[in-house]
Symmetry: C2
Subunit: 339 residues, 2 copies
DNA sequence: CTGTTAGCGCGTTCAT
DNA sequence: ATGAACGCGCTAACAG
């Protein structure tokens, strides 16, 4: 009953022809009659033939697979990017191996070893928080395995393809939006300064203030791990020192919500007393009050774009095109109330 | 500088021994001297050797890969299960190919074809909404590819391994909780009755009512697609007909939140006037008011359990053990206020 | 303990 | 247009 295990040899034997002809027929080669093609296809169907891609891949020295490394699958932003990657890979006929580094460099290295052993045709990666040097990544390029960074890249890598978000610009727009709404004293919840995204978000914050003639005040910027409790504590501390705060620009939405809850409990009206904007990391925007304006990072688009760029690199033999694509997040305004 | 492309033959030649000895050494076979093992390992490192798993897999007729099919990666529950699957697979040394059916039967079929072509060692699946017949799944079993369902299974399949949630029991506990809080008129937001999960949640609702001496009223059960707007409309309609509703049991949290928002706008206090419990599908619990009690489906545990069961099946040659594991979701109470 | 031989299933030369 | 032969890289069987 081994219905699915037929090989090209079996269908060749059944037809009294050679396996190489069968191979050609199945690959739709022009060097085989239409007649035999049909016969082969019919017999293949009858025997329930399925090409053994492992053998095919070995012969062609190509795995038809791309490796993907993210810090954590269960984080919404990354599962969105993976959905986009999967979509692009699917239409291009590629398989995808998903791996999570769990933010550990060691695990990232062992994953790359594994991907290499599996002879993936290319790699998409969003590096772990521990990743600064990148010899383990250069190894891929040395062996002609295309590599595309998305979201988090490795600045130690001089030449590389990457798909990034324009954090600076998005932050600039978000803070400008607050200012246009009338805010003058805007605090910024920042994250670990080792990560470039947080540096860029801080930069956009500064530039927006300066361009609108508002002086930058170091006291109004606080860094944390951006959990909900951090948001609460940060705004509590800050309000204690500066009672006239009227805006919050948070590097993520979880901390923003922590702050928002606290403020509401204290009787502040959002956005009338204090307006809040946060980068969107979780799909919560729909679930919370309509007072939090968020910056949508559209992970799906990033994933799709990165995967397409990678496939382009895979197909352009020998030509290593190192390109940087920068996508613009969109500001989703939910604080329509005029202050 | 093809540093990573060395084969066992090259390292054999460099050492003046045979490639099969190298192979054995690399596989840590007991039938090779410690001395030569060390020499081989040293030379392998020197040449930057990486085993070609494609060739190895072809020879061993094993891919060391398991296929995973989910309706949508970006849905939080599924990305959680995938994280759990990935974790279990990683420690067992398996690769994972993630695929999304997008709730389409056709796509599910084509994915299965592809997975078969890739000769995966086993398959984990949560079927699409369109999947009722399952010939395409039986095909796997006919070819000795172990299959484990998780969360959504296929009732048309007489014999199968599956890891499920005890929806009935969780619903029973949730509704009992509401009753113990004093609710007497509890509505139920249900979903498409074609899906077993919604049938079971409805059953748990009924049983809890009966066991507590509350008559079941068909009017209080409404089915929808359980979007946020559905929640709003459903509660609006119901309140119009039954002004004394004091509890809501929702088959998902999004609809629950829709209802909650509407109720608050109408001046109702949660949970004092109306208590709400919802199955948790999105990671929003932290972000919303502390008045919504949720049922956590712990996708991570389901994924881990399912993957381990699959690997067990893969390893137990010839023995097809069809087991059903049922995990209990946990009720996370956030409505501590006494009514 | 090690070498020899023989394939896994497929695609790609050569021929004809 | 088709067949014969070879090899991708590795491992399993059998010798010795």
């Amino acid at each position: 009953m081994k219905k699915g295990n037929a090989t090209i040899h079996e269908i060749a034997k059944a037809l009294g022809i050679d396996s190489s002809t069968v191979s050609r027929a199945l690959n739709n080669s022009d060097r085989v009659t239409q007649k035999t093609k049909e016969k082969v296809l019919a017999k293949a169907k009858e025997l329930g033939y399925r090409r053994n891609l492992i053998a095919s891949n070995l012969r062609r020295n190509k795995s038809n697979t791309i490796g993907v490394i993210v810090p954590r699958i269960s984080r919404h932003f990354f599962s969105s990017t993976i959905a986009g990657i999967e979509e692009a890979a699917f239409v291009a006929g590629y398989n995808v191996i998903i791996c999570q580094s769990m933010e550990k460099l060691d695990r990232e290295k062992s994953i790359l070893n594994n991907l290499w052993s599996n002879r993936v045709d290319g790699v998409l990666i969003s590096v772990s928080m521990e990743t600064v040097a990148c010899d383990h990544l250069k190894f891929l390029k040395d062996n002609n395995v295309p590599l595309v960074f998305f979201d988090r890249h490795c600045s130690a890598m001089e030449q590389s393809s990457k798909v990034l978000i324009d954090d600076t610009r998005a932050s600039y727009e978000a803070v400008s939006h607050l200012i246009e709404k009338g805010c003058r004293k805007i605090v910024h919840f920042s994250g670990p300064q080792s990560l470039e995204i947080y540096k860029n978000r801080l930069r956009g914050y500064k530039e927006a203030l300066e361009d609108h003639g508002i002086g930058f005040n170091d006291d109004l910027v606080v860094s944390s791990t951006l959990m909900e409790v951090d948001g609460k504590e940060m705004i509590q501390d800050l309000l204690h020192k500066h009672s006239d705060i009227d805006g919050v620009f948070s590097a993520n939405d979880v901390a923003a919500i922590g702050a928002m809850k606290y403020l509401k409990k204290k009787g502040k009206r959002i956005p009338d007393d204090i307006a809040i904007v946060g980068f969107s990391n979780e799909p919560i925007s729909e679930a919370i009050e309509p007072s939090l304006t968020t910056i949508d990072q559209s992970g799906f688009e990033i994933g799709r774009t990165a995967c397409n760029l990678l496939i382009e690199n895979i197909n352009s033999k020998e030509k290593v095109l190192d390109r940087t694509l920068i996508l613009n997040p969109t500001l989703i305004k939910r604080d329509s109330t005029n202050r």
